[in-house]
Every structure is written in structure tokens, then in C-alpha cells.
């Protein structure tokens, strides 16, 4: 049984991380030095680099600062940026977590803020140790999936194996989230057929159309040169492989970054901004997507890779599932699960799906994932704009599922 950290809002976490958050790039160095000097696997750096205000960035920062895996927060502001530091500090305080705010221009510069920040981290960590522990059922887990560095093996081994694990978790009442509508271009009609209502199916098709249009304006699909070197030729081919991560459960809803699913089930995260393209590519790299999944409450992320990605994440553990047997041998020390064995007849999809399921339970129970052990705590957040989801997007909420 998983022993969770019980937060005052009733949600439970699988980690008790202290985050140090810079509120503009100008405070990044100071915040990073505080985290480096704290030198703990449970003190993580997050932040937003922009000086201009952005509602999306505010929402994601608030969602992450009050994420169930977070025990306490130290905010580092330069002083003149537009991020509303007091509102964020108040939101964290209202959630029952210890929070401290340092303003570099008031504290008196780099060295003084690093010293004060380190002391603040110690106080916050000490206060965060008091959080009660509580049994956590599988149905309380929120599990996300993403693929990065995909190749022609991803859609045959690791992705469908994650789909098998997702099917088991959804059956157990857990919440599973898949994403990147730009990597679902070409799958929209088969995906819409899995929606729990026809109206949701229409929303799914609309959100993939939005992604296709957005990426067309950008001039590039969600497709990297390494994808082609690994045997993937087109966006829709990559999409078909990526889509198999979602498994075969019915799709219960569409969410946007910062929306926490209202009940167990399978959800699609729409990561492509609304309106006219304004701030560039929807997600400039894989970690930007992981941050959004965490903002939707993900306790951990299943990351499949064929070419061999090494990233982890701040706040929520990343479990690495390697699709390609050659990569799995070359980068064995970065992978939790070798799904490439499926191609060499050494394991079946079902067996690897079960291994992924067991690994999720172990990591949720406190075992460190490989990327955690290696100290990977990447975090990136940039500008975006979203409209709230429409009424057809969450039929579960409308029928009054989980309160």
C-alpha cells in the first residue's frame, strides 16, 4: 500500500518536495545557487523567466506550488518583475504549506539572498516534515504519459506497453493523462470514437484541428530530425505510435494546463494554445509538456523514448521506458524499463505493461526512479494563452462524479 503525504486540501502526494521558485530570469541564478547549496534530492528548482505578466504562467506556477508532491515553497523575486509574488505566496499559505518570499532588491543582492534563501529552505523543510502520512489507494493516483525522442520502435513496444499499464490503472479507478494534440494529428477520428459522449468526441476532433492549424502556422510539425533518423517519416505516423500510449479505455474528458481531472479515468490534455498563435511553438521541448502534466496533478510521468532521452522533472518523478533494444543497451543506466525486449522476443507487451504498472506502484511508494537517482529535475515554463475548457469537455464533472 502506498503511504502518501496528506495535504490540507485532502489531496495526497507521493513526495514531500520543497521547491525554490524564481519569478523572473533575473532571479534564476540566485534561486539555483540556493538549491545547489541545499544539495538535497528533495529541494527542486522551478521558475518562470518572463518579466511580462501571463495568466497561463500564473496558473501553472500556482498549480505546481500547491501540487500534492510539494511540502513547502521558497519564492525568489528580483523585485521589479510583473509576477504577482504576494498573490502566489498567499495561495501557497492558504493551501496550508509553509512559504517564504525573498526579494533580492530588498534583501540586498546576490550573496545576501542566497544566504537568506538557504536559511529559508531549512525552515520550510523543517515545517514540512510535520505533514501527516495516510494510506493512498491506486484510485488516488494521477499518472501522466509523454513520449520523447521517439523512433520507429516507440509505437510498437514502449508506447503500447504504457497503454496496457494505463488500461490497468484506469480499471483500478486511477486518473491517467495523455497529451500533445500536435502528436495526435491523423488519429482524431479514431480517438473521437472513444469519447464517453458524442459532444466530447467533437471537442477532441476540434482540438486536434486546432493543433494542426497551429503547427502549420509555426511551419514545423511536432517532429524532430531524430524521429526521422529513427525511421519515422511523417507526423501522422509518429502520431499513430504516440497515440497507443493512451491504451484502450474510454476517454473521459479534455483538460487544459492547470485543470485537475474531477474523477478517475483517461483524460486528454490539450497543450496547444487558443486563439491566434502569439508566443511561438506550443511546447518548445518535452519538459514543457511534463510541467503542464504536473500542473494537472500528475504524481508521476511515464516517459517513453526510442532514441534515448535522459530527462527527469522537478516535483514529480519521471519513469523512463526505453522502446528500442539498441538504445536500451547503450543507455541502460538511464532507463527504468527495457521495452525493447519485446522486439527480441524476450518479453510480451502484456509483461512489459505489468512491469510498468509495478514500477509506478514502487515509485509511488517512495522508491526513486532512475532519473531521480541521477538528479534530473528539469523544469521549463514559457508564455502561452488558453481559453477555459468548454462545457462538453468534462462530462464526468457535469454528471457530478467525484465531489
Amino acid at each position: 500500500m502506498i503511504s502518501g503525504y496528506l495535504r490540507k486540501d485532502g489531496r495526497k502526494g507521493i513526495r514531500n518536495v520543497t521547491i525554490v521558485a524564481y519569478l523572473v530570469e533575473c532571479a534564476h541564478h540566485v534561486a539555483r545557487r540556493i538549491v545547489d547549496k541545499a544539495d538535497s534530492p528533495d529541494v527542486h528548482l522551478i521558475g518562470f523567466p518572463g518579466c511580462y505578466p501571463n495568466a497561463y504562467a500564473n496558473r501553472v506556477m500556482e498549480a505546481i506550488a500547491t501540487h500534492p508532491n510539494v511540502g513547502g515553497v521558497v519564492l525568489v523575486s528580483l523585485g521589479c518583475e510583473s509576477f504577482d509574488r504576494n498573490a502566489l505566496a498567499e495561495t501557497v499559505r492558504a493551501s496550508g504549506r509553509p512559504v517564504e518570499l525573498l526579494v533580492i532588491q530588498e534583501v540586498g543582492g546576490t550573496a545576501a539572498t542566497i544566504a537568506n534563501g538557504l536559511a529559508a529552505v531549512d525552515r520550510v523543510r523543517a515545517a514540512a516534515t510535520d505533514v501527516p502520512r495516510a494510506e493512498m489507494a491506486l484510485s488516488e493516483l494521477v499518472i501522466a504519459t509523454i513520449c520523447g525522442g521517439s523512433d520507429g520502435t516507440s509505437g510498437i513496444t514502449a508506447n503500447p506497453a504504457v497503454g496496457r499499464a494505463f488500461d490497468r490503472f484506469v480499471s483500478a479507478g486511477a486518473t491517467c493523462i495523455f497529451e500533445e494534440t500536435g502528436e495526435l494529428v491523423g488519429c482524431e477520428t479514431i480517438m473521437a470514437d472513444r469519447a464517453i459522449t458524442p459532444e466530447l468526441g467533437a471537442e477532441i476532433e476540434a482540438c486536434v484541428r486546432k493543433a494542426e492549424r497551429y503547427y502549420t502556422v509555426m511551419g514545423f510539425g511536432s517532429f524532430a530530425p531524430g524521429n526521422a533518423e529513427g525511421g519515422l517519416t511523417t507526423q501522422e505516423e509518429k502520431s499513430m505510435g504516440a497515440y497507443s500510449k493512451s491504451g484502450s479505455s474510454p476517454i473521459s474528458g479534455i483538460i487544459k494546463p492547470g485543470d485537475v481531472p474531477p474523477a478517475g479515468g483517461l483524460y486528454l490534455l490539450d497543450v496547444v494554445p487558443d486563439g491566434e498563435p502569439r508566443f511561438g511553438f506550443p511546447n518548445i521541448s518535452d519538459n514543457a509538456e511534463i510541467v503542464e502534466l504536473i500542473a494537472c496533478g500528475a504524481h508521476l510521468t511515464l516517459f517513453t523514448t526510442g532514441r534515448g532521452s535522459v530527462v527527469g522533472s522537478a516535483v514529480s518523478p519521471v519513469i523512463k521506458i526505453c522502446a528500442n533494444p539498441e538504445t536500451a543497451r547503450r543507455m541502460a543506466a538511464d532507463m527504468d524499463i527495457d521495452a525493447g525486449r519485446i522486439l527480441e522476443d524476450k518479453a510480451t507487451l502484456g509483461q512489459v505493461g505489468d512491469e510498468i504498472f509495478d514500477r509506478v506502484v514502487a515509485v509511488a511508494s517512495g522508491e526513486r526512479s532512475v532519473s531521480e537517482e541521477l538528479g534530473h529535475h528539469e523544469f521549463i515554463l514559457t508564455y502561452k494563452a488558453f481559453e477555459p475548457i468548454g462545457p462538453a469537455c468534462l462530462p464526468v464533472r457535469n454528471t457530478g462524479a467525484r465531489a
Partner: protein
């Protein structure tokens, strides 16, 4: 390598196979009940034609269209960016340049 097949068929409707262990030029590929010599080396994860394909033909993988042919291919030929394209958004390779405009 073991004697297992170098190719897998993901769906019976597919007109391409996926390479699951490396192929070298001249290797005998078992296709459609006969064998064809591989024209070139092909690495894991790539596709080869299951049957003859021509420009405009849909390439089917996972039982679904994943793009269209832009050139002819014989059974056993490598299928990639040189002879097929997306029906949605063009893919890019390294050296495509940073400016999409």
C-alpha cells in the same frame, strides 16, 4: 543474430513492414511468400514495402494511412522521406534551417 524475422507486420492491412533487427544490403528478405535481396542497409524502426507502391498510394501502417507515396517502390524497398510524404504537415530533417518562412 538469431533466426527470427527481421521484419514485423503490425496490421494485416499494412503495405509496409517494420524492421526489427538491422538489415544489410543483399540480405534475403522474406516478402509475400518469396525472398527479395535488400537493396541497401536499413536500421531498426524503419519501414520497407510489402508490395509494389506508386506515387499517390497511401502508405498503411498500424492499419491506418500514415502518408502518401511520392515515387515508385518495389517490394523490399526502403520507405522513407525520399519516397513518401505526410498528408498533413511536412516533416523536417536536420539542416532544414531555423526559419520556417
Amino acid at each position: 543474430m538469431t533466426g527470427r524475422s527481421r521484419l514485423i507486420l503490425l496490421h494485416e492491412d499494412d503495405n509496409v513492414f517494420v524492421v526489427v533487427s538491422p538489415i544489410e544490403a543483399g540480405d534475403a528478405l522474406m516478402i509475400g511468400g518469396g525472398t527479395v535481396p535488400a537493396r541497401e542497409g536499413i536500421t531498426v524502426g524503419h519501414k520497407i514495402a510489402r508490395r509494389a507502391l506508386g506515387p499517390g498510394d497511401k502508405v498503411i501502417k498500424y492499419g491506418a494511412p500514415i502518408g502518401s507515396m511520392t515515387a515508385d517502390a518495389e517490394p523490399g524497398d526502403w520507405i522513407h522521406m525520399h519516397n513518401m510524404k505526410s498528408d498533413y504537415i511536412a516533416a523536417h530533417s536536420r539542416g532544414a534551417g531555423g526559419d520556417a518562412l
